[in-house]
């Protein structure tokens, strides 16, 4: 009886480990992209990514599929870690954010596309943190509107509306640059 229970526990742990590995592999770069997009600091984004996966790994037993997808759960943890980093920075010093590497864009792409990209990048820099977070979740991390809604604790339609407004704002900013 004890052996059967132990065997079942080991099997459950193995399944849990495999599914977490799958989540890690599929979300590692997305989590980093989200954190870097929100914080605009590569070093802090790396720390936040590492902390997010540490926390998620330890809390993996608490994940309840009925409450949302695994990615939404993971990004909820990553968001808390990123916001904790923002709080910590505010307590310690003024936020020093890295500007987008526009030189790299210029070097890698044709002139016309580079101009466009530079305009979008500058427009992105002009967004507030909340708007930037939406962009990071949607276009950097690749979350669906439903997943964004779950991460932010809002309705799916609200998430879609907010995203639409942010894209409109970006477009207007790009037009202004042009």
């Amino acid at each position: 009886m004890t052996q059967v229970l132990a065997s079942r526990t080991e099997t459950a742990a193995a399944v849990e480990q495999i599914s977490f590995d799958r989540l890690y592999r599929s979300s590692r770069d997305d989590v980093y992209a989200y954190a870097a997009g929100l914080l605009r600091d590569a070093g802090a984004a790396e720390d936040v990514t590492a902390i997010a996966f540490e926390r998620a790994f330890r809390r993996r037993a608490r994940f309840d599929p009925r409450r949302g997808s695994a990615r939404a759960w993971l990004f909820g943890i990553a968001r808390n870690a990123a916001l904790d980093e923002l709080r910590r920075r505010k307590r310690q010093a003024a936020l020093v954010e890295e500007p987008t590497d526009l030189a790299g864009i210029d070097a890698e792409h044709p002139v016309e596309r580079s101009e466009r990209r530079i305009a979008v990048a500058r427009a992105l820099e002009g967004l507030g943190a909340r708007e930037r977070e939406l962009v990071a979740l949607r276009y950097f991390a690749g979350l669906s509107n439903a997943e964004i809604a779950a991460v932010l604790g809002i309705t799916e339609s609200n998430a879609g509306t907010r995203l639409h407004r942010v894209v409109d704002k970006l477009r207007e900013a790009c037009d202004g640059v042009a």
Binding site: A36, V48, T49, E54, R58, R116, E125, G128, A178
Partner: protein
């Protein structure tokens, strides 16, 4: 320029601007993933992360089983401790014997349900005429009653206490007669007096033996303890009435009466005329009658305090037969099980009374902390500035 107006174009540019991690960071993170994400020293909140990790790894569902098991074990241990400590306490009969100044006697095995022991609270009151009336008075120690009588008697050091007791013993039907013999032997041993005794046999072999006894008050406790050894005690009640005040009142009235008689005798000797002598003799006769009545009442009162009235009933009891023959039976088992369950329920209620407020405070504190943390994080996000012109 047109492409800027085209949303899909902006989306494509946004996706192209997606930050990508350094390969060295990816390699390092992969390595940590393979080893279970141990917090790195020197990184953001590594110490607190390790501490939190101890609790974070446990889900509520996983915590519930060991927590429930621990609670059950705690209740079982507390119940066992209380049961053992209760069984180590002296039997009510022993407590009575000790409180009454007698020597404690080891009680015979008495079934739990038979341990009916009552010590009525003394109810003593002094009437306006100085007579003391007592209802169902009780209590074992006379000193305890000093506060319940008037100030007149309260100053008296020696207390006159009238005692009485009722005892019902249950024995096997065929043992009633031998038990009755043992009762008489105990009365004899303690210099008691049998006022009345009777033995009746009823249907189906059931028998009852009744005794009205007088036992010297100073030996009452020992006598009751000895009587309780004859068979399982089905019920027992003891009563004590403090009669110090009426006794003193009678003594003083007798003393006054004696003095008046002496004075009348002196007056009689000094009387010179026949009519005067006749009047004094008449008064003297009445006073002597009064003195005799007072002395009679006083001696009756003294008898009542010197001897306790004890009523003993020995009844045939099939349960007693089972207890004598088989020892611990199913009824005893049920009784003990009920007692243990009652103790366990009591322990649970006490534990809940202690833990529930603590748990409530913890839940409120945790809820408050989470709400504060959520607001604090959202505030940090709201205050985060844009680097460009917003």
């Amino acid at each position: 320029m047109e492409s800027h107006r085209n949303e899909p174009g902006i989306v494509a540019e946004l996706e192209a601007l997606r930050p990508r991690p350094r390969p060295s960071f990816v390699a390092e993170l992969d390595e940590r993933a393979a080893t279970g994400f141990e917090p790195r020293e020197g990184t953001l909140g590594a110490g607190s992360e390790r501490f939190r990790g101890l609790f974070a790894a446990l889900s509520w569902r996983r915590l519930a089983v060991p927590a429930g098991a621990a609670a059950l074990v705690a209740i079982a241990v507390a119940t066992a401790v209380i049961s053992i400590s209760e069984s180590g306490q002296p039997h009510p009969e022993q407590r009575f014997a000790e409180s009454a100044g007698g020597s404690p006697t080891p009680p015979k095995a008495v079934p739990t349900h038979a341990r009916e022991f009552s010590v009525p609270v003394p109810e003593v009151s002094e009437s306006a005429g100085g007579e003391l009336s007592a209802g169902s008075a009780g209590g074992s120690a006379a000193a305890d009653q000093a506060s319940s009588v008037g100030p007149y008697a309260a100053r008296v050091r020696h207390r006159d206490v009238e005692r009485s007791a009722r005892l019902v013993l249950g024995v096997a039907p065929d043992e009633v007669r031998s038990a009755a013999g043992e009762v008489l032997a105990v009365v004899h041993e303690y210099d008691g007096i049998v006022l009345r005794s009777s033995t009746r046999t009823r249907d189906q072999g059931r028998a009852v033996a009744s005794f009205d006894l007088l036992v010297p008050s100073r030996r009452l406790s020992d006598a009751l303890a000895a009587l309780s050894q004859i068979g399982p005690v089905r019920s027992r009640s003891d009563a004590a009435v403090d009669v110090t005040a009426p006794t003193i009142g009678l003594q003083e009235r007798a003393r006054d009466s004696r003095a008046k008689v002496d004075a009348l005798i002196a007056e009689l000797e000094a009387a010179t005329t026949a009519s005067e002598r006749e009047s004094i003799e008449s008064e003297l006769g009445a006073e002597r009658d009064r003195l005799a009545r007072l002395r009679s009442r006083l001696s009756a009162m003294e008898r009542r305090t010197h001897f306790a009235r004890v009523s003993v009933r020995v009844v045939s009891d099939p349960e007693a037969a089972a207890a004598e023959g088989g020892g611990w039976g199913i009824d005893d088992a049920l009784g003990d099980a009920g007692r243990i369950l009652a103790i366990a329920a009591g322990v649970t209620v006490v534990a809940l009374a202690v833990l529930a407020p603590i748990a409530l405070i913890l839940i409120l504190a945790l809820g408050g902390r989470r709400a504060w943390l959520r607001r604090s994080r959202e505030r940090a996000l709201g205050r985060s500035p844009a680097t460009g012109a917003e």
